[in-house]
């Protein structure tokens, strides 16, 4: 349930944008949900809704659209790309990556050359795609 904290980040960011851009209302937020972080989409959506509606604000009536993004990793040594879904991981390892995606470097190595020196090409975590308002 730490997803709540990230949902708070999304709403705070939307409010910051509204203020900075001089908007009177945020109408829609589009969010990419990177697979690596393994966020529970239902919980996240619920958290977003509760935070939005907990008090009247410029974001209360916004819609939130969540889109899953598969995680792709790429080795900096041999260039190999692979899907996070393929990585053989214990439950605790998955759980650690859930809290801190960078911990992937501790539990995953390149299937080609065994290096831990890879980058997240996409699908790391929660990312705001767009914020629309008026």
């Amino acid at each position: 349930m730490h997803e709540w904290a990230l949902a708070e980040g999304v709403i705070s960011t939307a409010l910051e944008v509204a203020e900075r851009e001089g908007l009177s209302e945020i109408t829609a937020i589009k969010i990419k949900m990177g697979e690596l972080q393994q966020i529970d989409l239902e919980i996240f959506e619920l958290a977003l809704r509760e935070i939005r509606q907990s008090q009247m604000s410029m974001v209360t009536n916004a819609t939130a659209e969540l889109e899953k993004e598969a995680a792709v990793l790429k080795c900096r040594v041999c260039g190999r790309e692979w899907a996070f879904g393929d990585a053989p991981l214990a439950d605790e390892e998955r759980e650690s990556i859930h809290f801190l995606p960078e911990i992937a470097h501790t539990y995953i190595t390149c299937p080609g050359c065994k290096s831990p020196d890879f980058q997240f090409v996409k699908g790391r975590g929660v990312w705001i795609d767009s914020i629309v308002g008026r």
Partner: protein, 248 residues
């Protein structure tokens, strides 16, 4: 757009003083001082948190003998309280395993922890920094508003030269410097003190080299009884910054 930075201010709003323990070089006692400082402040009755941001070589858990605890999940993560200190380190997630992280990953991990950790209200949050001025330090300065630095050096020429560079950067960025502690002193000499004063940074005090310190590593109770801790406590008691009411 990254959703995390916007919530970080909220996470620190009930913390009276944020103190990063830093220095130019490694091995000068930053982690030992950060850990013991947290113990001393907690012992003095303050509510204290300790955040280990040295992801490449986390050591405060080993110094304090913290093991087998884990944060709670409650609308974020809530650090467990050990020896009266709310403690957070990457070891909760990496365990005994290495974390070979590039700067970009360190930066992302720092931002993540700052965004999801709910410290609650604290008199002091002590942050143990890695050596040098890299991603963790730059993000600390950038994202933790109101952070102050306690800077460590040793009498060694190379350590002093390097710490001078850190102090210059902090001053240029107008980051408050509580003071410089000269650690592992083996002989009488006012050289470091004078050099620090020359560049107009407060000298915080000295800590003698303590041969028996290593035997107390891993045991918080014994750590507090060392000469090292006594030296540090004197510094704490005589430094105005170590009163929470003076802070923002």
């Amino acid at each position: 757009m990254d959703p995390r930075p916007a919530i970080i201010g909220e996470r620190f709003k009930d913390i009276k003083r944020l103190i990063a323990v830093a220095g130019g070089k490694g091995g000068i006692g930053k982690s030992m001082i950060a850990s013991t400082l947290a113990l001393i402040l907690s012992d003095l009755g303050y509510s204290v948190g300790l955040l280990d941001l040295d992801f490449c070589g986390p050591s405060t858990h080993a110094i304090l003998g913290i093991d087998g605890v884990y944060p709670e999940e409650d609308k974020g993560i809530v650090p467990p309280q050990v020896h009266g200190i709310k403690f957070l380190s990457i070891v909760y997630y990496a365990g005994d395993n290495p974390s070979p992280l590039r700067g970009i990953d360190i930066s992302n991990a720092v931002i993540e922890l700052l965004a999801i950790t709910r410290w609650g209200s604290l008199d002091f949050l002590i942050v143990d920094m890695p050596p040098g001025i890299g991603d963790a330090t730059l993000d600390t300065v950038r994202l933790i508003k109101g952070v102050e630095f306690l800077v460590i050096t040793t009498p060694s020429k190379v350590a002093l030269e390097t710490v001078g560079k850190t102090l210059r950067i902090l001053k240029e960025m107008s980051i408050p410097i509580i003071g410089v502690i000269e650690n592992m002193k083996m002989a009488e000499s006012s050289y470091v003190r004078e050099q620090i004063r020359k560049i107009d940074v407060p000298f915080g005090g000295e800590i003698a080299f303590d041969r028996e310190l290593e035997d107390s590593v891993g045991n918080a109770v014994r750590l507090l009884e060392t000469d090292f801790a006594q030296n540090l406590k004197q510094i704490v008691l005589s430094t105005p910054a170590f009163k929470p009411q003076d802070g923002g």
